[in-house]
């Protein structure tokens, strides 16, 4: 009845549209089974992670990871390390493509704390010293060629390398270094630097008596000071630019191996190699392209198709276990998975300044009642149950000891009974409490609600609008119980234990105090012999286990770095802020 021609025309348009659109979508190569180029030739140089393999949560004697004693870190570098022309072992050329999940909030390394800032701008700046990016157990010169420490350990004198220039041609002087260190340790009014409360707490002041000498004065002897200086975050920014502009939030100008040539917020950041970098023969790479890919599935797809060769640290690399296994199957040898610690743990904070939480039996009962392995399973991420120190650092007690402690062990029956008994002793009955939490770490809060209900804590969860709000609640120190995570820039005992458990620690939100812990921490912070320091740290950990403090560790987070085996010269270090400068990295093809 109706006109057939019109109908045929409509069908043709629709059919044509459906057929043509994928064609204008671009060249498709329907050969998913094409074998990757034979990897045997390049296998010899394939990177191996130097960290111990991922520890299991069932610490039988066979499964425990050996805890290596930290090697003696030299206070002054050997002469061989002062000339920076390393032997060329890599191939020149190629652009490394990397995926990141969020934009950096701004470009100023002194003021930021997000990993997206450090991943990008570590390439463009240098620090005074750096970690050995292969073994991560010694501090090597960077802008400082050599240094001396005064007898009392309070004054460090650094001798800076000559001939280093900023991108605008002006020379780097010790004055720049002093300005940067002072800016980070004691920021001017209106600015706030996370370095002041963390890696540079011990610094009183930095001075530059002449253009090639930097003198840093400390408040107290600090065994961790040099390592803190080696953190990726401590970089030298140009004084003349800082004085002119106030901050470097929108400008990048450094001495590093790469320079940022252009960027589009939300899309990509492009870095090109510097031809006159002060380490001759470096960097190997022609450039680095960082793409902002917010969706996790898209990042995995980009890795799979080879469009990106690695993802940035932190949330960009968080991959569901199923996705990781699938990726391993699809990419086979072309994928390297390096497990590393993040110096980060999730905690339950119990505020001893408020009644009734000042009763230590409550914190002890909570620690006993928490089923840590169930929380890890709920989170869907990798985690290790351990004590009060990051188990992937050399400073922690062995897992065979910590994973079998009451509260931390797998069998909860005896622990639960003991927890109930302790709570009954307090005669407080059922306690109603509101627990603020952030959606990023909701698994701990949700699990704690049901697990702690068994010992008489009636928890109401209060979701905070942003993770930063939980930090604010903790900082105000008026809370009852909070579940949150804490991460540190280095794996040093001063950082992980000191900031949380010393009476004046910047992250001691719960008001915990123990005379013995204070005494031991005071001893370890000035002990320069690594073996002795480890012994003291073990004592601290055992003491903490004994008193069961109000800052209760739930589990230690383990991250996986996924990257293509084409990337050579790269060894994934512990934590997120060590050794991410790519001057020694090269591409196999």
């Amino acid at each position: 009845m109706f006109h057939r021609r019109a109908e045929r025309i409509c069908l043709a348009i629709i059919g044509g549209a459906i057929l043509l659109l994928p064609a204008c979508g671009g060249g498709a190569q329907p050969t998913p089974t094409s074998a990757p180029p034979s990897p045997t030739a390049t296998k010899a140089a394939a990177p191996t992670a130097t960290l111990a393999p991922r520890p299991a949560n069932t610490a039988t004697a066979a499964a425990s990871t050996p805890t290596p004693v930290p090697t003696q870190k030299p206070a002054t570098p050997t002469a061989a390390a002062s000339t920076p022309t390393a032997a060329a072992a890599g191939k020149y050329g190629g652009v490394l493509s990397m995926a990141m999940n969020v934009d950096p909030e701004h470009f100023d390394m002194h003021l930021a704390s997000g990993v997206s800032v450090s991943m990008l701008f570590k390439q463009t700046y240098n620090g005074l010293v750096q970690y050995d990016d292969k073994t991560y157990n010694q501090v090597l010169p960077e802008l400082a060629e050599k240094w001396e420490v005064s007898g009392d350990g309070l004054v460090y004198t650094f001798h800076l390398r000559q001939g280093v220039k900023w991108e605008d041609g002006k020379p780097l002087t010790a004055s720049d270094a002093a300005f940067s260190i002072n800016r980070m340790a004691h920021p001017p009014a209106g600015l706030s630097s996370p370095r002041g409360g963390a890696v540079l707490t011990a610094v009183t002041k930095a001075e530059a008596p002449d253009p090639s000498t930097l003198i840093v004065t400390l408040k107290n002897r600090s065994a961790s000071f040099l390592e803190n200086l080696a953190s990726d975050w401590v970089v030298v920014e140009p004084q003349h630019v800082l004085e002119a502009k106030g901050d470097m939030k929108t400008t990048v100008m450094g001495t590093g191996p790469f320079t940022m040539t252009n960027f589009t917020r939300g899309s990509q950041y492009v870095f090109k190699k510097k031809t006159d970098y002060f380490v001759a023969g470096r960097p190997y790479l022609d450039g680095i392209s960082v793409f902002i890919i917010p969706d996790a599935g898209a990042r995995i797809a980009a890795l799979r198709t080879g469009q990106t060769k690695m993802s940035a640290l932190g949330s960009a690399s968080v991959v569901d276990t199923k996705d990781r296994e699938q990726l391993k199957k699809d990419m086979g040898d072309k994928l390297v998975i390096a497990a590393h610690s993040a110096f980060s743990a999730e905690y339950v904070y119990v505020n001893t300044r408020k009644a009734p939480w000042s009763d230590p039996r409550i914190a002890k009962a909570i620690s006993l009642a928490l089923d840590r392995r169930a929380i890890i399973a709920l989170s869907g991420q990798d985690g290790v149950v351990a004590g009060y120190m990051d188990p992937l650092t050399p400073w922690a007690l062995p897992l065979t000891e910590t994973q079998n402690l009451p509260g931390f062990r797998a069998d909860k029956a005896a622990d639960l009974a003991e927890a109930k008994r302790l709570m009954a002793e307090t005669k407080l009955g059922t306690i109603n409490v509101t627990v603020p939490y952030s959606n990023v770490f909701e698994h701990t809060a949700i699990a704690a609600k049901s697990q702690l209900a068994q010992i008489g804590l009636n928890i109401t969860l209060a979701l905070q609008p942003t993770p930063a709000e939980v930090s604010k609640v903790l900082g105000e120190r008026k809370f009852d119980i909070v579940t949150y995570a804490s991460s540190q820039p280095t794996g040093d005992p001063d950082m992980i234990i000191g900031t949380a458990f010393s009476a004046k620690g910047t992250r001691n939100y719960t008001g915990f105090q123990d005379a013995e812990v204070e005494r031991l921490m005071g001893l370890q912070t000035i002990e320069l012999d690594q073996a002795k320091r480890k012994a003291i740290t073990n004592q601290v950990e055992r003491r903490l286990i004994e008193v069961s403090p109000s800052t209760i560790p739930v589990f230690w987070r383990v991250f996986d770095r996924l990257y293509s085996s084409d990337i050579r010269g790269f060894t994934q270090g512990p934590g997120m802020f060590l050794g991410e400068k790519f001057d020694n990295v090269w591409l196999a093809q």
Partner: protein
């Protein structure tokens, strides 16, 4: 007609003022503090010193009375210099200039795709009512309505990478600098969004065409001996499209929310994504300005829709 359009354009001003006040109040009422987010960092890992917090608030002008802050922002907006982002320090106008073309292009491409699918499909469904063709087409359109866009977009990426070992090029290419690369990136999100919109519009066309076919004047036209093609195109279609134009107007507003999801999944630096990030940070100047920009486009497109009525339906007279 001209007076009508002029009056509508004048009405923009109170509408935008109302929206600006609403979003300003809303952002101040919502819990969450931009100073806290700036100090603690996006992952919330930093420690917050109450003294520094107050200093930062002072510096950002957050301690001034609300009326002063609002007035300052509106005055800046009128001069087209809505200040800097509180978080990155970069000017908001620069962000908008960079991101607006991306979102606009996505919206235009989605509309083109959706109309080119929906119009023929809708006409087909109406002309072949209750035949297998109609049922299949209706199933396709219900599928489009039922599938969430984030799901179909993620599936698209998964299948592209798994089956074809191919992904759209990373790093946004603008249409004017490299059109092929740009289309390769934009076609997929536009397809997702376009399919959803086509589902709605095609059903609308079908329903309203069927209604028009039942009208007397169509019967007269057929009885006159006009070919069916002429009956549909000259008489029925124009009248059937009136309700469709209404739906399209509403869809344009929905494009804004759809673009957020598409921009996140396909890594496009568009306005939708920067709005979401700004909201997470509570970056007040950014959020407020972007909302006003979105509102402006919605208001303009509604004006275009209203004017289009007059073209489609001569009975409509604006005074």
């Amino acid at each position: 007609m001209r007076t009508y359009i002029a009056r509508r354009i004048l009405l923009f001003v109170p509408v935008l003022i109302g929206i600006s006040m609403l979003i300003f109040i809303f952002m101040r009422v919502v819990p969450g503090d931009v100073a806290v987010t700036i100090l603690a960092g996006p992952d919330g890992g930093g420690t917050i010193d109450p003294v520094k917090l107050e200093q930062l608030r002072e510096k950002l002008g957050l301690r001034d009375p609300l009326v002063v802050q609002y007035g300052r922002w509106v005055w800046d907006l009128v001069r087209l210099q809505p200040g800097n982002s509180l978080v990155s320090g970069a000017p908001v106008m620069g962000e908008i200039r960079l991101r607006l073309p991306v979102t606009l292009e996505l919206a235009i491409l989605s509309m083109i795709i959706s109309l080119s699918i929906a119009v023929p499909l809708g006409i087909l469904m109406a002309m072949r009512q209750d035949t297998p063709v109609d049922y299949i087409a209706r199933m396709l359109s219900i599928g489009g309505l039922a599938m969430p866009t984030f799901w179909s977009a993620s599936l698209m990426i998964l299948f592209l990478s798994l089956w074809f070992n191919w992904l759209p090029p990373l790093g946004y290419h603008s249409f004017f600098s490299s059109p092929i690369a740009n289309l390769k990136q934009m076609i997929w999100p536009a397809l997702s969004l376009g399919y959803l919109m086509a589902a709605v519009v095609s059903r609308m066309i079908r329903t309203s065409l069927l209604e028009v076919f039942r009208q007397d004047y169509v019967r007269t036209a057929t009885a006159k001996g006009l070919s069916h093609r002429l009956v549909v195109t000259r008489h029925a279609l124009k009248n059937a499209l009136i309700p469709v134009v209404t739906v399209l107007g509403v869809q344009i507003a929905a494009l804004a929310s759809g673009s957020v999801i598409m921009e996140s999944i396909f890594s496009l630096p568009g306005l939708g994504r920067s709005l979401v990030t700004a909201i997470q940070y509570r970056d007040y100047p950014m959020v407020q300005t972007l909302v006003v920009v979105f509102a402006f486009f919605v208001v303009i497109s509604n004006l275009v829709v209203d004017v289009a009525y007059a073209w489609f339906d001569p009975r409509v007279h604006y005074k």
